[in-house]
Protein backbone atom coordinates (compact mmCIF):
# COMPACT_ATOMS: atom_id res chain seq x y z
CA UNK A 1 0.00 0.00 0.00
CA UNK A 2 1.03 3.62 -0.10
CA UNK A 3 2.80 3.76 3.22
CA UNK A 4 6.09 5.56 3.16
CA UNK A 5 7.80 3.30 5.68
CA UNK A 6 6.82 -0.31 5.18
CA UNK A 7 7.04 -2.21 8.44
CA UNK A 8 9.97 -4.55 8.67
CA UNK A 9 7.86 -7.19 10.41
CA UNK A 10 4.71 -7.38 8.36
CA UNK A 11 3.38 -6.17 5.07
CA UNK A 12 0.23 -6.45 3.00
CA UNK A 13 2.29 -6.24 -0.16
CA UNK A 14 2.14 -9.17 -2.50
CA UNK A 15 2.36 -9.46 -6.28
CA UNK A 16 -0.72 -11.70 -6.04
CA UNK A 17 -2.80 -8.65 -5.05
CA UNK A 18 -2.76 -7.57 -8.70
CA UNK A 19 -5.14 -10.44 -9.39
CA UNK A 20 -7.85 -8.43 -7.64
CA UNK A 21 -7.91 -5.95 -10.51
CA UNK A 22 -9.38 -8.52 -12.91
CA UNK A 23 -12.79 -8.96 -11.21
CA UNK A 24 -13.00 -5.20 -10.56
CA UNK A 25 -12.51 -4.24 -14.20
CA UNK A 26 -13.99 -7.03 -16.31
CA UNK A 27 -17.64 -6.83 -15.05
CA UNK A 28 -17.67 -3.10 -15.89
CA UNK A 29 -16.76 -3.57 -19.57
CA UNK A 30 -20.34 -3.77 -20.82
CA UNK A 31 -19.33 -4.01 -24.48
CA UNK A 32 -17.89 -7.47 -23.75
CA UNK A 33 -21.17 -9.01 -22.76
CA UNK A 34 -24.06 -6.79 -23.89
CA UNK A 35 -25.41 -9.27 -26.42
CA UNK A 36 -28.18 -11.83 -26.68
CA UNK A 37 -26.29 -14.71 -28.34
CA UNK A 38 -25.00 -17.27 -27.61
CA UNK A 39 -27.71 -18.31 -25.18
CA UNK A 40 -27.21 -20.83 -22.41
CA UNK A 41 -30.25 -22.78 -21.21
CA UNK A 42 -32.45 -19.99 -22.52
CA UNK A 43 -30.41 -17.26 -20.77
CA UNK A 44 -29.17 -14.45 -23.02
CA UNK A 45 -25.38 -14.03 -23.00
CA UNK A 46 -25.73 -10.78 -21.03
CA UNK A 47 -27.15 -12.65 -18.06
CA UNK A 48 -25.24 -15.91 -17.92
CA UNK A 49 -21.93 -14.18 -18.55
CA UNK A 50 -22.45 -11.88 -15.56
CA UNK A 51 -23.25 -14.92 -13.43
CA UNK A 52 -19.98 -16.36 -14.69
CA UNK A 53 -18.19 -13.20 -13.53
CA UNK A 54 -19.22 -14.11 -9.97
CA UNK A 55 -17.12 -17.26 -10.32
CA UNK A 56 -14.28 -15.11 -11.66
CA UNK A 57 -14.54 -12.81 -8.63
CA UNK A 58 -14.66 -15.65 -6.14
CA UNK A 59 -11.73 -17.35 -7.85
CA UNK A 60 -9.46 -14.31 -7.79
CA UNK A 61 -10.26 -13.27 -4.20
CA UNK A 62 -9.89 -16.85 -2.98
CA UNK A 63 -6.45 -17.20 -4.54
CA UNK A 64 -5.30 -13.91 -3.02
CA UNK A 65 -6.69 -14.91 0.37
CA UNK A 66 -4.99 -18.30 0.32
CA UNK A 67 -1.56 -17.00 -0.61
CA UNK A 68 -1.63 -13.98 1.70
CA UNK A 69 -3.32 -15.33 4.83
CA UNK A 70 -1.43 -15.23 8.06
CA UNK A 71 -0.95 -18.56 9.76
CA UNK A 72 -1.18 -17.07 13.26
CA UNK A 73 -4.64 -15.56 12.87
CA UNK A 74 -6.34 -18.91 12.31
CA UNK A 75 -10.02 -19.43 12.91
CA UNK A 76 -9.56 -21.62 15.97
CA UNK A 77 -6.58 -19.77 17.38
CA UNK A 78 -8.65 -18.23 20.14
CA UNK A 79 -12.22 -19.29 20.59
CA UNK A 80 -13.51 -16.71 22.97
CA UNK A 81 -10.60 -15.28 24.95
CA UNK A 82 -10.16 -11.77 23.65
CA UNK A 83 -6.37 -11.54 23.64
CA UNK A 84 -4.61 -14.79 22.93
CA UNK A 85 -0.88 -14.11 23.13
CA UNK A 86 0.81 -14.55 19.80
CA UNK A 87 4.24 -16.04 19.34
CA UNK A 88 6.43 -13.63 17.45
Amino acid sequence: MADTEPGPRRSDRSPWNWLLIIPVVVPLLTFLFNKDEPRLAGFPFFYWMQFAFIVLGVGCTTIVYLVTRRPSGGENASASSPAAPKED
Binding site: Y47, T61, G73, K86
Partner: protein
Protein backbone atom coordinates in the same frame (compact mmCIF):
# COMPACT_ATOMS: atom_id res chain seq x y z
CA UNK B 1 -59.70 -12.26 4.37
CA UNK B 2 -59.56 -15.37 2.21
CA UNK B 3 -58.49 -18.79 3.48
CA UNK B 4 -55.39 -18.56 1.35
CA UNK B 5 -54.32 -15.38 3.04
CA UNK B 6 -55.01 -16.89 6.44
CA UNK B 7 -52.61 -19.77 5.77
CA UNK B 8 -49.94 -17.34 4.57
CA UNK B 9 -50.44 -15.15 7.58
CA UNK B 10 -50.22 -18.03 10.06
CA UNK B 11 -46.94 -19.31 8.58
CA UNK B 12 -45.61 -15.75 8.49
CA UNK B 13 -46.60 -15.08 12.09
CA UNK B 14 -45.13 -18.35 13.43
CA UNK B 15 -41.76 -17.70 11.78
CA UNK B 16 -41.81 -14.09 12.94
CA UNK B 17 -42.44 -15.12 16.54
CA UNK B 18 -39.62 -17.71 16.46
CA UNK B 19 -37.20 -15.12 15.16
CA UNK B 20 -38.29 -12.54 17.72
CA UNK B 21 -37.67 -15.04 20.51
CA UNK B 22 -34.19 -15.65 19.10
CA UNK B 23 -33.59 -11.92 19.13
CA UNK B 24 -34.21 -11.75 22.87
CA UNK B 25 -32.27 -14.94 23.64
CA UNK B 26 -29.30 -13.58 21.65
CA UNK B 27 -28.24 -11.51 24.66
CA UNK B 28 -27.14 -14.79 26.29
CA UNK B 29 -25.43 -16.07 23.16
CA UNK B 30 -21.61 -15.96 23.50
CA UNK B 31 -22.46 -14.18 26.71
CA UNK B 32 -20.20 -11.31 27.68
CA UNK B 33 -19.42 -10.39 31.29
CA UNK B 34 -21.23 -7.12 30.70
CA UNK B 35 -23.31 -5.71 27.86
CA UNK B 36 -22.62 -2.17 29.04
CA UNK B 37 -20.01 -1.13 26.47
CA UNK B 38 -20.15 -0.39 22.76
CA UNK B 39 -17.65 -3.16 22.06
CA UNK B 40 -20.16 -5.67 23.40
CA UNK B 41 -23.55 -4.09 22.60
CA UNK B 42 -22.54 -2.43 19.33
CA UNK B 43 -19.92 -4.83 17.97
CA UNK B 44 -20.82 -8.19 19.53
CA UNK B 45 -17.53 -8.27 21.45
CA UNK B 46 -15.50 -7.94 18.22
CA UNK B 47 -15.34 -11.71 18.29
CA UNK B 48 -17.29 -13.08 15.31
CA UNK B 49 -15.67 -15.82 13.25
CA UNK B 50 -16.02 -16.52 9.54
CA UNK B 51 -19.45 -18.13 9.53
CA UNK B 52 -21.18 -15.62 11.77
CA UNK B 53 -19.57 -12.76 9.85
CA UNK B 54 -20.70 -14.28 6.57
CA UNK B 55 -24.31 -14.47 7.68
CA UNK B 56 -24.19 -11.13 9.47
CA UNK B 57 -22.59 -9.10 6.67
CA UNK B 58 -24.60 -10.97 4.04
CA UNK B 59 -27.80 -10.24 5.95
CA UNK B 60 -26.66 -6.67 6.38
CA UNK B 61 -25.75 -5.84 2.78
CA UNK B 62 -28.40 -7.80 0.90
CA UNK B 63 -31.47 -6.29 2.51
CA UNK B 64 -35.17 -6.97 2.21
CA UNK B 65 -35.49 -3.80 0.24
CA UNK B 66 -32.92 -5.11 -2.22
CA UNK B 67 -34.90 -8.31 -2.58
CA UNK B 68 -38.03 -6.32 -3.38
CA UNK B 69 -36.62 -3.35 -5.25
CA UNK B 70 -34.08 -5.00 -7.55
CA UNK B 71 -36.63 -7.30 -9.24
CA UNK B 72 -39.02 -4.33 -9.32
CA UNK B 73 -36.36 -2.40 -11.23
CA UNK B 74 -35.79 -5.31 -13.61
CA UNK B 75 -39.57 -5.61 -14.02
CA UNK B 76 -39.76 -1.95 -14.98
CA UNK B 77 -36.56 -1.30 -16.92
CA UNK B 78 -35.01 -4.66 -17.79
CA UNK B 79 -31.25 -5.07 -18.15
CA UNK B 80 -30.44 -1.73 -16.50
CA UNK B 81 -31.75 -3.12 -13.20
CA UNK B 82 -29.30 -6.01 -13.37
CA UNK B 83 -26.46 -3.63 -12.38
CA UNK B 84 -26.82 -5.03 -8.86
CA UNK B 85 -24.91 -8.12 -10.02
CA UNK B 86 -21.73 -6.46 -11.36
CA UNK B 87 -21.98 -4.08 -8.40
CA UNK B 88 -21.76 -6.91 -5.89
CA UNK B 89 -19.02 -8.70 -7.87
CA UNK B 90 -16.80 -5.65 -8.12
CA UNK B 91 -17.14 -4.58 -4.50
CA UNK B 92 -15.25 -7.37 -2.71
CA UNK B 93 -11.97 -7.41 -4.65
CA UNK B 94 -12.17 -3.61 -4.62
CA UNK B 95 -12.26 -3.28 -0.82
CA UNK B 96 -10.29 -6.46 0.03
CA UNK B 97 -7.01 -4.73 0.89
CA UNK B 98 -8.61 -1.64 2.41
CA UNK B 99 -10.98 -3.31 4.87
CA UNK B 100 -8.23 -5.31 6.54
CA UNK B 101 -6.43 -2.03 7.20
CA UNK B 102 -9.62 -0.56 8.64
CA UNK B 103 -10.04 -3.60 10.86
CA UNK B 104 -6.43 -3.42 12.08
CA UNK B 105 -6.35 0.27 12.90
CA UNK B 106 -9.76 0.01 14.59
CA UNK B 107 -8.57 -2.99 16.60
CA UNK B 108 -5.52 -1.12 17.85
CA UNK B 109 -7.34 2.12 18.65
CA UNK B 110 -10.76 0.78 19.64
CA UNK B 111 -12.61 2.62 16.88
CA UNK B 112 -16.32 1.82 16.65
CA UNK B 113 -17.34 4.04 13.72
CA UNK B 114 -15.70 5.26 10.49
CA UNK B 115 -15.80 8.78 11.93
CA UNK B 116 -13.70 7.61 14.92
CA UNK B 117 -11.00 6.65 12.43
CA UNK B 118 -11.19 9.95 10.54
CA UNK B 119 -10.85 11.91 13.76
CA UNK B 120 -7.68 10.06 14.76
CA UNK B 121 -6.19 9.99 11.28
CA UNK B 122 -6.68 13.63 10.36
CA UNK B 123 -6.86 15.21 13.81
CA UNK B 124 -10.10 16.99 12.94
CA UNK B 125 -13.29 16.64 14.92
CA UNK B 126 -15.05 18.80 12.31
CA UNK B 127 -14.23 16.35 9.54
CA UNK B 128 -15.27 13.48 11.82
CA UNK B 129 -18.58 15.25 12.49
CA UNK B 130 -19.21 15.66 8.74
CA UNK B 131 -18.50 11.96 8.21
CA UNK B 132 -20.78 11.02 11.10
CA UNK B 133 -23.67 13.21 9.94
CA UNK B 134 -23.28 11.97 6.37
CA UNK B 135 -23.44 8.40 7.66
CA UNK B 136 -26.52 9.01 9.79
CA UNK B 137 -28.38 10.86 7.03
CA UNK B 138 -27.54 8.16 4.48
CA UNK B 139 -28.57 5.35 6.82
CA UNK B 140 -31.89 6.71 8.11
CA UNK B 141 -33.86 6.37 4.85
CA UNK B 142 -32.27 2.95 4.36
CA UNK B 143 -33.83 1.81 7.64
CA UNK B 144 -37.16 3.29 6.59
CA UNK B 145 -36.98 1.35 3.35
CA UNK B 146 -36.70 -1.93 5.22
CA UNK B 147 -40.21 -1.15 6.42
CA UNK B 148 -41.30 -0.81 2.81
CA UNK B 149 -40.15 -4.42 2.39
CA UNK B 150 -42.28 -5.60 5.31
CA UNK B 151 -45.20 -3.47 4.20
CA UNK B 152 -45.12 -4.93 0.68
CA UNK B 153 -45.52 -8.45 2.09
CA UNK B 154 -48.23 -7.41 4.55
CA UNK B 155 -50.18 -5.74 1.75
CA UNK B 156 -49.85 -8.83 -0.40
CA UNK B 157 -51.38 -10.87 2.45
CA UNK B 158 -54.29 -8.46 2.59
CA UNK B 159 -53.20 -6.97 5.93
CA UNK B 160 -53.95 -3.30 6.05
CA UNK B 161 -53.57 -0.55 8.62
CA UNK B 162 -50.51 0.71 10.46
CA UNK B 163 -50.58 -1.47 13.55
CA UNK B 164 -48.93 -4.65 12.22
CA UNK B 165 -45.98 -2.61 11.03
CA UNK B 166 -45.71 -0.72 14.30
CA UNK B 167 -45.83 -3.92 16.34
CA UNK B 168 -43.19 -5.60 14.17
CA UNK B 169 -40.84 -2.68 14.58
CA UNK B 170 -41.54 -2.33 18.31
CA UNK B 171 -40.47 -5.96 18.82
CA UNK B 172 -37.38 -5.34 16.72
CA UNK B 173 -36.56 -2.23 18.74
CA UNK B 174 -36.97 -4.10 22.02
CA UNK B 175 -34.60 -6.96 21.25
CA UNK B 176 -32.04 -4.74 19.57
CA UNK B 177 -32.07 -2.63 22.71
CA UNK B 178 -31.48 -5.68 24.85
CA UNK B 179 -29.14 -7.81 22.74
CA UNK B 180 -27.35 -5.31 20.51
CA UNK B 181 -25.49 -6.68 17.50
CA UNK B 182 -25.85 -10.26 18.77
CA UNK B 183 -29.57 -10.17 17.86
CA UNK B 184 -29.20 -9.58 14.11
CA UNK B 185 -26.17 -11.90 14.05
CA UNK B 186 -28.26 -14.77 15.40
CA UNK B 187 -31.38 -13.97 13.37
CA UNK B 188 -29.32 -13.71 10.18
CA UNK B 189 -28.92 -17.51 10.20
CA UNK B 190 -32.68 -18.03 9.98
CA UNK B 191 -33.21 -15.21 7.55
CA UNK B 192 -30.62 -16.44 5.09
CA UNK B 193 -31.71 -20.03 5.37
CA UNK B 194 -35.27 -18.99 4.49
CA UNK B 195 -34.13 -16.76 1.64
CA UNK B 196 -31.92 -19.47 0.14
CA UNK B 197 -34.72 -22.02 0.30
CA UNK B 198 -37.28 -19.67 -1.21
CA UNK B 199 -35.05 -18.51 -4.04
CA UNK B 200 -33.81 -21.97 -4.95
CA UNK B 201 -37.38 -23.22 -5.10
CA UNK B 202 -38.48 -20.13 -7.03
CA UNK B 203 -35.69 -20.45 -9.56
CA UNK B 204 -36.56 -24.02 -10.48
CA UNK B 205 -40.30 -24.08 -9.85
CA UNK B 206 -41.42 -20.81 -11.46
CA UNK B 207 -39.67 -21.20 -14.85
CA UNK B 208 -41.08 -24.72 -14.97
CA UNK B 209 -44.58 -23.33 -14.46
CA UNK B 210 -44.04 -20.48 -16.93
CA UNK B 211 -42.64 -22.50 -19.83
CA UNK B 212 -38.86 -22.16 -19.41
CA UNK B 213 -36.25 -19.42 -19.37
CA UNK B 214 -36.33 -18.80 -23.12
CA UNK B 215 -40.01 -18.02 -22.86
CA UNK B 216 -39.52 -15.76 -19.83
CA UNK B 217 -36.88 -13.62 -21.58
CA UNK B 218 -39.02 -13.60 -24.73
CA UNK B 219 -42.07 -12.33 -22.83
CA UNK B 220 -39.95 -9.63 -21.20
CA UNK B 221 -38.54 -8.44 -24.52
CA UNK B 222 -42.02 -8.37 -26.02
CA UNK B 223 -43.24 -6.18 -23.15
CA UNK B 224 -40.30 -3.76 -23.42
CA UNK B 225 -40.71 -3.52 -27.20
CA UNK B 226 -44.26 -2.29 -26.70
CA UNK B 227 -43.42 0.49 -24.22
CA UNK B 228 -42.54 3.93 -25.52
CA UNK B 229 -39.52 4.26 -23.18
CA UNK B 230 -36.32 3.89 -25.21
CA UNK B 231 -34.07 2.85 -22.29
CA UNK B 232 -35.71 -0.46 -21.40
CA UNK B 233 -35.11 -3.92 -22.84
CA UNK B 234 -33.48 -7.21 -21.96
CA UNK B 235 -30.16 -5.77 -23.13
CA UNK B 236 -28.51 -2.42 -22.51
CA UNK B 237 -28.51 0.15 -25.28
CA UNK B 238 -26.02 2.67 -26.56
CA UNK B 239 -27.05 5.38 -24.10
CA UNK B 240 -27.19 3.56 -20.77
CA UNK B 241 -24.13 1.31 -20.94
CA UNK B 242 -21.82 3.88 -19.42
CA UNK B 243 -24.38 4.61 -16.73
CA UNK B 244 -24.67 0.88 -15.97
CA UNK B 245 -20.93 0.52 -15.39
CA UNK B 246 -20.68 3.79 -13.43
CA UNK B 247 -23.64 2.88 -11.23
CA UNK B 248 -22.12 -0.54 -10.51
CA UNK B 249 -18.72 0.94 -9.67
CA UNK B 250 -20.13 3.90 -7.74
CA UNK B 251 -22.40 1.66 -5.68
CA UNK B 252 -19.47 -0.67 -5.00
CA UNK B 253 -17.33 2.22 -3.79
CA UNK B 254 -20.18 3.41 -1.57
CA UNK B 255 -21.15 0.09 0.02
CA UNK B 256 -18.44 -0.22 2.64
CA UNK B 257 -18.60 3.48 3.45
CA UNK B 258 -22.05 2.92 4.94
CA UNK B 259 -21.69 2.77 8.71
CA UNK B 260 -23.63 -0.49 8.98
CA UNK B 261 -21.19 -2.25 6.65
CA UNK B 262 -18.31 -1.02 8.79
CA UNK B 263 -20.09 -2.34 11.89
CA UNK B 264 -20.23 -5.82 10.35
CA UNK B 265 -16.55 -5.69 9.45
CA UNK B 266 -15.36 -4.44 12.85
CA UNK B 267 -17.36 -7.15 14.63
CA UNK B 268 -15.19 -9.87 13.07
CA UNK B 269 -12.36 -11.18 15.18
CA UNK B 270 -9.36 -11.04 12.88
CA UNK B 271 -8.08 -10.18 9.41
CA UNK B 272 -8.39 -13.67 8.01
CA UNK B 273 -12.11 -13.66 8.78
CA UNK B 274 -12.51 -10.55 6.63
CA UNK B 275 -10.38 -11.89 3.77
CA UNK B 276 -12.20 -15.19 3.78
CA UNK B 277 -15.53 -13.36 3.68
CA UNK B 278 -14.47 -11.18 0.77
CA UNK B 279 -14.05 -14.44 -1.12
CA UNK B 280 -17.25 -16.07 0.16
CA UNK B 281 -19.77 -13.20 0.19
CA UNK B 282 -20.31 -13.26 -3.60
CA UNK B 283 -22.45 -16.36 -2.97
CA UNK B 284 -25.08 -13.78 -2.10
CA UNK B 285 -24.48 -12.01 -5.42
CA UNK B 286 -25.48 -15.21 -7.15
CA UNK B 287 -28.65 -15.20 -5.11
CA UNK B 288 -29.23 -11.54 -5.88
CA UNK B 289 -28.86 -12.18 -9.61
CA UNK B 290 -31.49 -14.92 -9.41
CA UNK B 291 -33.74 -12.63 -7.38
CA UNK B 292 -33.35 -9.88 -9.99
CA UNK B 293 -34.64 -12.32 -12.61
CA UNK B 294 -37.86 -12.66 -10.62
CA UNK B 295 -38.70 -9.35 -12.31
CA UNK B 296 -38.74 -11.04 -15.72
CA UNK B 297 -40.70 -13.96 -14.29
CA UNK B 298 -43.31 -11.50 -13.04
CA UNK B 299 -43.62 -10.13 -16.59
CA UNK B 300 -43.98 -13.62 -18.06
CA UNK B 301 -46.49 -14.49 -15.35
CA UNK B 302 -48.63 -11.51 -16.30
CA UNK B 303 -48.30 -9.85 -12.87
CA UNK B 304 -49.77 -6.36 -12.63
CA UNK B 305 -48.42 -4.27 -9.73
CA UNK B 306 -51.12 -3.05 -7.35
CA UNK B 307 -51.47 0.62 -6.55
CA UNK B 308 -49.41 1.83 -3.62
CA UNK B 309 -50.28 4.47 -1.03
CA UNK B 310 -50.05 7.28 -3.57
CA UNK B 311 -52.45 5.63 -6.03
CA UNK B 312 -49.79 4.81 -8.63
CA UNK B 313 -48.85 1.21 -9.48
CA UNK B 314 -46.19 0.16 -6.96
CA UNK B 315 -43.47 -1.94 -8.62
CA UNK B 316 -42.37 -3.18 -5.22
CA UNK B 317 -45.45 -5.38 -5.03
CA UNK B 318 -44.56 -7.53 -8.08
CA UNK B 319 -42.40 -10.08 -6.24
CA UNK B 320 -44.88 -10.70 -3.40
CA UNK B 321 -47.67 -10.93 -6.00
CA UNK B 322 -45.66 -13.36 -8.12
CA UNK B 323 -45.15 -15.64 -5.12
CA UNK B 324 -48.82 -15.42 -4.26
CA UNK B 325 -49.73 -16.21 -7.87
CA UNK B 326 -47.43 -19.24 -8.29
CA UNK B 327 -46.72 -20.90 -4.94
CA UNK B 328 -49.06 -22.92 -2.72
CA UNK B 329 -50.24 -20.71 0.13
CA UNK B 330 -48.09 -22.23 2.91
CA UNK B 331 -44.93 -21.72 0.87
CA UNK B 332 -45.98 -18.19 0.01
CA UNK B 333 -46.12 -17.63 3.78
CA UNK B 334 -42.53 -18.90 4.06
CA UNK B 335 -41.45 -16.61 1.22
CA UNK B 336 -43.11 -13.58 2.81
CA UNK B 337 -41.52 -14.42 6.13
CA UNK B 338 -38.14 -14.55 4.39
CA UNK B 339 -38.66 -11.01 3.09
CA UNK B 340 -40.09 -9.73 6.38
CA UNK B 341 -37.37 -11.25 8.53
CA UNK B 342 -34.90 -10.16 5.89
CA UNK B 343 -35.88 -6.61 6.77
CA UNK B 344 -35.22 -7.05 10.49
CA UNK B 345 -31.53 -7.95 10.25
CA UNK B 346 -30.34 -4.91 8.32
CA UNK B 347 -32.75 -2.61 10.16
CA UNK B 348 -31.21 -3.71 13.46
CA UNK B 349 -27.61 -3.35 12.29
CA UNK B 350 -28.27 0.00 10.62
CA UNK B 351 -29.91 1.43 13.71
CA UNK B 352 -26.99 0.22 15.84
CA UNK B 353 -24.51 1.80 13.43
CA UNK B 354 -26.38 5.11 13.32
CA UNK B 355 -26.69 5.10 17.11
CA UNK B 356 -22.97 4.45 17.53
CA UNK B 357 -22.16 7.38 15.24
CA UNK B 358 -24.36 9.64 17.31
CA UNK B 359 -22.87 8.42 20.58
CA UNK B 360 -19.20 8.47 19.65
CA UNK B 361 -18.96 11.39 17.28
CA UNK B 362 -21.66 13.78 18.42
CA UNK B 363 -22.64 13.03 22.05
CA UNK B 364 -19.19 12.16 23.34
CA UNK B 365 -17.38 14.67 21.16
CA UNK B 366 -19.56 17.69 21.84
CA UNK B 367 -21.56 17.01 25.00
CA UNK B 368 -19.82 14.58 27.33
CA UNK B 369 -16.11 14.30 26.71
CA UNK B 370 -15.65 12.07 29.75
CA UNK B 371 -18.53 9.66 29.04
CA UNK B 372 -17.72 6.19 30.39
CA UNK B 373 -18.03 3.00 28.34
CA UNK B 374 -21.22 2.17 30.21
CA UNK B 375 -22.71 5.59 29.52
CA UNK B 376 -21.81 5.24 25.84
CA UNK B 377 -23.70 1.96 25.67
CA UNK B 378 -26.76 3.47 27.36
CA UNK B 379 -26.81 6.45 25.00
CA UNK B 380 -26.40 4.20 21.98
CA UNK B 381 -29.24 1.93 23.09
CA UNK B 382 -31.57 4.91 23.47
CA UNK B 383 -30.41 6.42 20.19
CA UNK B 384 -31.16 3.14 18.40
CA UNK B 385 -34.74 3.41 19.66
CA UNK B 386 -35.03 6.99 18.45
CA UNK B 387 -33.68 6.01 15.05
CA UNK B 388 -36.28 3.26 14.66
CA UNK B 389 -39.16 5.44 15.79
CA UNK B 390 -38.01 8.01 13.26
CA UNK B 391 -38.01 5.37 10.52
CA UNK B 392 -41.53 4.23 11.37
CA UNK B 393 -42.82 7.80 11.43
CA UNK B 394 -41.11 8.53 8.10
CA UNK B 395 -42.93 5.63 6.46
CA UNK B 396 -46.31 6.22 8.12
CA UNK B 397 -46.50 10.00 7.89
CA UNK B 398 -44.66 10.71 4.67
CA UNK B 399 -45.05 9.32 1.18
CA UNK B 400 -42.79 6.22 1.01
CA UNK B 401 -41.51 7.72 -2.21
CA UNK B 402 -39.79 10.29 -0.02
CA UNK B 403 -37.71 7.55 1.62
CA UNK B 404 -36.88 6.06 -1.75
CA UNK B 405 -35.68 9.46 -2.98
CA UNK B 406 -33.67 9.93 0.20
CA UNK B 407 -32.05 6.53 -0.18
CA UNK B 408 -31.05 7.46 -3.71
CA UNK B 409 -29.54 10.65 -2.36
CA UNK B 410 -27.95 8.59 0.45
CA UNK B 411 -25.87 6.60 -2.03
CA UNK B 412 -24.58 9.81 -3.57
CA UNK B 413 -23.75 11.55 -0.30
CA UNK B 414 -22.09 8.56 1.40
CA UNK B 415 -19.68 8.47 -1.56
CA UNK B 416 -18.50 11.91 -0.50
CA UNK B 417 -16.84 10.37 2.56
CA UNK B 418 -14.63 8.19 0.35
CA UNK B 419 -11.64 10.57 0.32
CA UNK B 420 -11.49 10.79 4.11
CA UNK B 421 -12.47 7.22 5.06
CA UNK B 422 -11.48 5.09 2.06
CA UNK B 423 -8.43 6.96 0.80
CA UNK B 424 -7.57 7.94 4.38
CA UNK B 425 -6.94 4.27 5.10
CA UNK B 426 -4.37 4.15 2.30
CA UNK B 427 -2.69 7.53 2.49
CA UNK B 428 -2.32 10.49 4.84
CA UNK B 429 -1.49 12.82 1.96
CA UNK B 430 -4.68 14.93 2.15
CA UNK B 431 -4.90 18.02 4.36
CA UNK B 432 -7.91 18.00 6.68
CA UNK B 433 -9.03 21.35 5.22
CA UNK B 434 -8.78 19.92 1.71
CA UNK B 435 -11.01 17.01 2.66
CA UNK B 436 -13.60 19.33 4.18
CA UNK B 437 -13.57 21.52 1.06
CA UNK B 438 -13.88 18.44 -1.17
CA UNK B 439 -16.81 17.14 0.88
CA UNK B 440 -18.65 20.46 0.56
CA UNK B 441 -18.03 20.65 -3.21
CA UNK B 442 -19.03 17.02 -3.81
CA UNK B 443 -22.20 17.37 -1.77
CA UNK B 444 -23.21 20.57 -3.53
CA UNK B 445 -22.55 19.15 -6.99
CA UNK B 446 -24.35 15.89 -6.19
CA UNK B 447 -27.44 17.58 -4.81
CA UNK B 448 -27.60 19.98 -7.73
CA UNK B 449 -27.43 17.19 -10.30
CA UNK B 450 -30.04 15.08 -8.46
CA UNK B 451 -32.30 18.12 -8.31
CA UNK B 452 -32.02 18.51 -12.08
CA UNK B 453 -33.14 14.96 -12.90
CA UNK B 454 -36.83 14.58 -13.74
CA UNK B 455 -38.69 11.29 -13.90
CA UNK B 456 -41.27 11.33 -16.69
CA UNK B 457 -42.78 8.01 -15.58
CA UNK B 458 -43.85 9.39 -12.18
CA UNK B 459 -44.25 12.99 -13.45
CA UNK B 460 -41.67 14.23 -10.98
CA UNK B 461 -39.60 17.27 -11.93
CA UNK B 462 -36.75 16.72 -9.47
CA UNK B 463 -34.90 13.87 -7.73
CA UNK B 464 -36.29 11.48 -10.33
CA UNK B 465 -33.28 9.16 -10.41
CA UNK B 466 -29.50 9.00 -10.30
CA UNK B 467 -28.84 8.95 -14.06
CA UNK B 468 -27.84 12.47 -15.03
CA UNK B 469 -28.45 13.33 -18.71
CA UNK B 470 -25.36 14.96 -20.19
CA UNK B 471 -27.66 17.04 -22.39
CA UNK B 472 -28.50 19.05 -19.25
CA UNK B 473 -25.10 20.74 -19.41
CA UNK B 474 -25.47 21.39 -23.13
CA UNK B 475 -23.81 18.27 -24.56
CA UNK B 476 -25.44 16.94 -27.70
CA UNK B 477 -25.97 13.35 -26.54
CA UNK B 478 -28.62 11.16 -24.95
CA UNK B 479 -26.03 9.52 -22.75
CA UNK B 480 -26.52 9.50 -18.98
CA UNK B 481 -23.95 9.26 -16.18
CA UNK B 482 -24.20 8.26 -12.51
CA UNK B 483 -24.45 11.35 -10.29
CA UNK B 484 -22.48 9.81 -7.42
CA UNK B 485 -19.41 9.17 -9.54
CA UNK B 486 -19.38 12.70 -10.97
CA UNK B 487 -19.88 14.27 -7.53
CA UNK B 488 -17.04 12.14 -6.17
CA UNK B 489 -14.76 13.23 -9.01
CA UNK B 490 -15.48 16.89 -8.19
CA UNK B 491 -14.91 16.14 -4.51
CA UNK B 492 -11.50 14.60 -5.25
CA UNK B 493 -10.39 17.39 -7.55
CA UNK B 494 -11.28 20.04 -4.96
CA UNK B 495 -9.67 18.01 -2.14
CA UNK B 496 -6.41 17.69 -4.10
CA UNK B 497 -6.31 21.35 -5.14
CA UNK B 498 -7.20 22.59 -1.66
CA UNK B 499 -4.59 20.32 -0.09
CA UNK B 500 -1.88 21.68 -2.40
CA UNK B 501 -3.02 25.23 -1.66
CA UNK B 502 -3.17 24.75 2.13
CA UNK B 503 0.28 23.12 2.13
CA UNK B 504 1.67 26.03 0.10
CA UNK B 505 0.17 28.47 2.62
CA UNK B 506 1.62 26.31 5.42
CA UNK B 507 -1.77 26.06 7.14
CA UNK B 508 -1.71 23.89 10.27
CA UNK B 509 -2.79 20.34 9.60
CA UNK B 510 -4.20 17.90 12.14
CA UNK B 511 -1.90 15.36 13.76
CA UNK B 512 -2.18 11.71 12.79
CA UNK B 513 -2.15 9.54 15.92
CA UNK B 514 -2.13 6.30 13.93
CA UNK B 515 1.13 4.65 12.87
CA UNK B 516 2.08 2.56 9.86
CA UNK B 517 2.16 -0.64 11.91
CA UNK B 518 -1.36 -0.03 13.27
CA UNK B 519 -2.75 -0.80 9.82
CA UNK B 520 -1.17 -4.24 9.82
CA UNK B 521 -2.07 -5.33 13.35
CA UNK B 522 -3.97 -8.54 13.95
CA UNK B 523 -5.87 -10.36 16.64
CA UNK B 524 -3.86 -10.57 19.85
CA UNK B 525 -1.72 -7.53 19.11
CA UNK B 526 -1.52 -4.91 21.84
CA UNK B 527 -4.16 -2.21 21.82
CA UNK B 528 -3.53 1.44 22.47
CA UNK B 529 -5.09 2.58 25.71
CA UNK B 530 -7.34 5.41 24.71
CA UNK B 531 -5.65 8.75 24.93
CA UNK B 532 -2.06 7.56 25.41
CA UNK B 533 -1.09 8.30 21.82
CA UNK B 534 -2.49 11.77 22.18
CA UNK B 535 -0.39 12.29 25.30
CA UNK B 536 2.73 10.99 23.56
CA UNK B 537 2.12 13.31 20.64
CA UNK B 538 1.46 16.21 22.98
CA UNK B 539 -2.15 16.52 21.90
CA UNK B 540 -3.88 16.00 25.21
CA UNK B 541 -6.45 18.66 25.86
Amino acid sequence: MSGRHTTELVVFAVLFVIVSAMGFVAARWRRPTTMQSLDEWGLGGRSFGSWITWFLVGGDLYTAYTFVAVPALVFGAGAAGFYAVPYTIVVYPLVFLVLIRLWSVSHVHGFVTPADFVRARFGSSTLALLVAITGIVATMPYIALQLVGIQATLEAMGVTGHWPLIIAFAILAAYTYQSGLRAPALIAFVKDLLIYIVILVAIFYIPHKLGGWGHIFGAAQAKFDKTPAPADGTLLNHNNQLNYAMLALGSALALFLYPHSVTGVLASKNRNVIKRNMAALPAYSFLLGLIALLGFMAIAGGIKPVAGGNGKPDGNTVVPLLFDHIFPSWFTGVAYAAIGIGALVPAAIMSIAAANLFTRNIYKEYFRRDASASEEATVSKLASLVVKIGAVLAILLLDPQFSIDLQLIGGVIILQTLPSVGLGLITRWFHRGGLIAGWVAGMAAGMWMLYRIPNPATKKLHFGGSAYPLSDIGLDTKMTVYVGAIALAINLIVAVLATVLLRALKTTDGVDVTRTDDYLADEGDPKVVQGTREVEEGLAT
